[in-house]
Symmetry: C2
Subunit: 409 residues, 2 copies
C-alpha cells in the first residue's frame, strides 16, 4: 500500500499551524509498513481539492484526508470527495446522537450547521470520534482506500490509533511483518554517532538504521522486515547488540520514552525521593519531573533560586558566593546539599550557570554546573554548552536528568 | 504570485519531523502578500521529485524547495531541478570558501562530497548561508521563479528573511500592499469568540478575519489589502475597534507576543518583583517567566511545593491543611503570602490543585486555585479545568499569567 496524506485547511497554507497531523499519521503508517510517498496541503477550496484528489489517485492507493469536516461552510472535504466518487452523503445515527448529547449537556442551542457534521459518505465505515463531533470515515472503492479525519489533533490521534489502524490492518494483504524499534541517545552528537556507526548504517539493509537528531538528542530507528514478528525482533536484537558495543554508553532508552521518564523510573526503583534547586533552568527540571503522573510520591519540592538572595536563603554561604560566584562548582554543590537537607530527600540536584544572552560574573553563556548529592555521594558536572538561551536551559535540564540516570558511572 | 512549497526528504514522509519549514515560509509569504496554494512533501527520489516539479509548474509561478542540498548522495534537489530546467551546475566561489574555512577551522578532512555543496544552478542568484555550508539559490525563468533552501531550520530561517525576501520583493510587480495583524485572546473559547463575532467574520472582506485556536488561546488574524501601508493599517484599526467593543476584555496582545511576555512587561512597568509557589504546575510558571532574557531583575525565586511538608515548610498552617486541604482557596492564599514574605517581593503567586489523572483529597482533576498577593491586594481565582494532566497544568500556568495581567479587574 502506498499512501498520500492530504491536509485540508487554509490555516496550513497561511502558516498558522504546522502540518503535525501528516507527521503523526506518517509515523503510524511507517509502523504498519505502509509507504508514504507524498504529503499535500491544500486550502478550503473545492476546485483545488478536486485536482489534488485526481493527482493523488494517479499515484497512491491509500488517500488520507485530514481537516475540513467541521460545521462551517468552509468545511467541504466530504462534500468534495462525495462528488468525486459520485456518492451520496447520508445521516449517521450514532454521530447525530453524539452531537445531540453535547448540546443537551451544555444547554447551547444546536444549529442546522451542526447537523451537517453527522453526514457521512454512503457505504463508508464510520470511525467514531471520542473527543469531538465530526466522525471519521473509511471507504474502499476500486482497490483504493479513502480515509477522512477531523483536523484537531486531539480528535484525530485517538481516532487513528483506535479505529483507523484496525481498519487498515483488515485491508492489508498478508505478507511481510515489519517491526521497528527506536534507540534513544543522549550525550553524543549526530555526526559523531553516524561516524561511529558509518559502516553499519551503510551496509545494513535488514534492519535498516535511520539516524535522526532533535531536541539535543539522537535517535536511531531500526526497521526489520521478516515473515514473523519474532524473526524481525531477532534481527533487530542482533543489530542493536552491534550498536551497543560501540555507543552503548549513550543509549538511555527505547521508543516513546524520555530522559525524564527514565530518570523517574530509576528513582522509583531505588525508592529515592528528590528535591531540586534551580537557578538558570528556572523550574524546567521540576516541571519535567512533575509532568509525570505520580510525581508526588518521589518529588518533594524544589526551589527556583534565581537571585543570589534566594541562593543564600537556601544555604549557599556568603564566602562561596564571594570567592567563586554563583556560577561555580562550589555553589552547585552547596545548593544541592542545602535543598536536600531542607526537604529531607534522598537526592538533591542543583543547576547554576549562565543562560545568556549576556555573560554573568565574567562567565560566558553556556557555562553551567549541575550538582547532585545522593546516597552514592556527591558529584558536579561542568558543562560548556553552545546555543541560545532557550537551548542552553533545555540542554542543562537534560544533562541533569542524564546525570541522575548515570550516577554509578 | 502564487506559490507552492515543496519539502524534500524522507524524514518528512517517515514522520520523523514535521514540515515546519513550510509553515515558516507560509507566514513570511503571507506577510509579503504572496498566496500559497499548495504544500507538497516528497522523498529523496529523483523520479518522484521530477513529477512533483511538473505538477507545481502547472499550478504555481513561485516554486520553493526546501531540503536535499546536503553533501550525501541522498541529496538531489539541485541536480533534479538542473535536469528539469536543462541547466548546468557550476562551482560557486563564495560557497567554496565558506566550506573550506569550516574544514580549516575544525581540522577535519574535507571530502569530495563536501565540495558538492558549493555547486549551484547556472545563472541563479546565490543566497548566502550564514549558518551552514549549503548555499540557497533563486532563479527566474519564463516568468516562473525557483528558490532552493537548505532543510535545517537554523540555516533556512535567517537565509529566507535576510536574502530571499529582498529577492522576492525585487521580483514582485508593484501593486497592492498587504498588512496583517494578529490579535491574541485568552479566557474565551474559539466557538464563543466566533459566535460573538459571527456577522463581522462573515461580512468582512477587507480586512478578512481568520480565527484560530491552539494552546488554549484563540487568535484572530486581520489581513487588509490596500494601495498603501497606512491605508491598510487604517482598515485594520477600524475592524479591531469593532472587535474590541465585543470581546476586548479577552484581548491580551498582538502578533508574536505571549502571555508570559506581556506579564513580564507589566511587572517591569510597575517596577514589581515576583516570587512563586507552585504545587500542581511544578515549575511551569517560573520556567515561563525565566525563559525571558532579563528575568533575574524581577523574578527573585520560587518554590515548587509538591508535597504537603514543603507547603508547611513555606508557611501554610496545619489548620488550613487539615480543615480545607492543600487544594483550597485558603491554601492558595497562604502560599502566595508566605512565598512573597520569604523572598521579600512585591508579588507572590501560588498554584495549587489537582492535575490528575486521579482525584486528590476527594477533589476532581481540574480543580485549581491560583492565589495572588500584590500591592493591589489579595485575590484567589478558582478554576474547573477540563482536559488531561498536561492540559490542566499548562492552562493553570496561563491562568496565572492572565491573572497577573488583569489585577485591576
Amino acid at each position: 500500500m502506498n499512501a498520500e496524506i492530504i491536509g485540508i485547511g487554509s490555516e496550513l497554507l497561511l502558516g498558522q499551524i504546522a502540518n503535525t497531523n501528516a507527521q503523526f499519521i506518517s509515523t503510524r503508517l511507517a509502523d504498519l509498513g505502509i509507504n508514504v510517498f507524498y504529503h499535500t496541503a491544500v486550502g478550503d477550496n473545492s476546485d483545488r481539492l478536486k485536482q489534488v484528489i485526481e493527482i493523488a489517485e494517479s499515484r497512491a492507493d491509500l488517500l488520507i484526508f485530514t481537516g475540513g469536516l467541521g460545521p462551517t461552510k468552509d468545511d467541504l472535504t466530504k462534500e468534495t470527495i462525495a462528488e468525486t466518487l459520485n456518492k451520496k452523503l447520508v445521516y449517521n445515527e450514532e454521530a447525530m446522537e453524539t452531537i445531540q448529547a453535547y448540546y443537551t449537556k451544555t444547554g447551547a442551542p444546536m444549529s442546522e450547521n451542526n447537523r451537517k457534521q453527522a453526514l457521512v459518505l454512503e457505504g463508508a465505515e464510520v470511525l467514531r470520534n471520542d473527543n469531538g463531533m465530526a466522525p471519521g470515515m473509511a471507504l474502499t472503492e476500486n482497490n483504493r482506500t479513502y480515509m477522512l479525519f477531523p483536523g484537531p489533533p486531539k480528535e484525530l490521534y485517538p481516532m487513528f490509533t483506535n479505529y483507523a489502524e484496525p481498519y487498515l490492518l483488515s485491508q492489508m494483504k498478508q505478507g511481510d511483518t515489519i517491526v521497528s524499534r527506536v534507540l534513544r541517545f543522549f550525550g553524543i552528537g549526530e555526526s559523531r554517532l553516524e561516524a561511529d556507526l558509518e559502516d553499519l548504517i551503510d551496509q545494513q539493509t535488514n534492519p535498516t538504521i535511520a539516524p535522526l537528531a532533535g531536541d539535543w538528542e539522537v535517535t536511531l530507528r531500526l526497521t526489520a522486515k521478516s515473515d514473523s514478528k519474532a524473526e524481525a525482533e531477532k534481527l533487530i536484537d542482533e543489530t542493536e547488540e552491534k550498536i551497543k558495543k560501540r555507543v552503548g554508553k549513550f543509549l538511555y532508552g527505547y521508543d516513546q520514552t524520555s530522559l525524564a521518564k527514565e530518570t523517574f523510573a530509576t528513582l522509583e526503583k531505588r525508592n529515592w525521593t528528590i528535591s531540586s534547586a534551580e537557578s538558570l533552568t528556572g523550574g524546567l527540571f521540576s516541571q519535567q519531573i512533575t509532568d509525570l503522573p505520580g510525581a508526588s510520591s518521589l518529588f518533594y519540592g524544589g526551589v527556583v533560586c534565581y537571585s543570589n538572595e534566594v541562593k543564600r536563603e537556601i544555604g549557599v554561604s556568603n564566602e562561596t558566593l564571594e570567592a567563586y560566584g554563583a556560577v561555580s562548582e562550589e555553589c552547585a554543590i552547596e545548593l544541592a546539599r542545602s535543598v536536600r537537607a531542607r526537604y529531607n530527600t534522598d537526592v538533591g540536584i542543583s543547576f547554576t550557570g549562565v543562560a545568556g544572552p549576556d555573560p554573568s560574573e565574567g562567565k560566558e553563556p553556556g557555562t553551567v554546573f549541575v550538582g547532585v548529592v545522593s546516597p552514592l555521594g556527591e558529584k558536579v558536572i561542568s558543562l560548556h554548552l553552545a546555543g541560545n538561551r532557550d537551548a542552553i536551559r533545555k540542554r542543562t535540564a537534560k544533562h541533569g536528568l542524564n546525570t541522575l540516570l548515570n550516577l554509578e558511572r
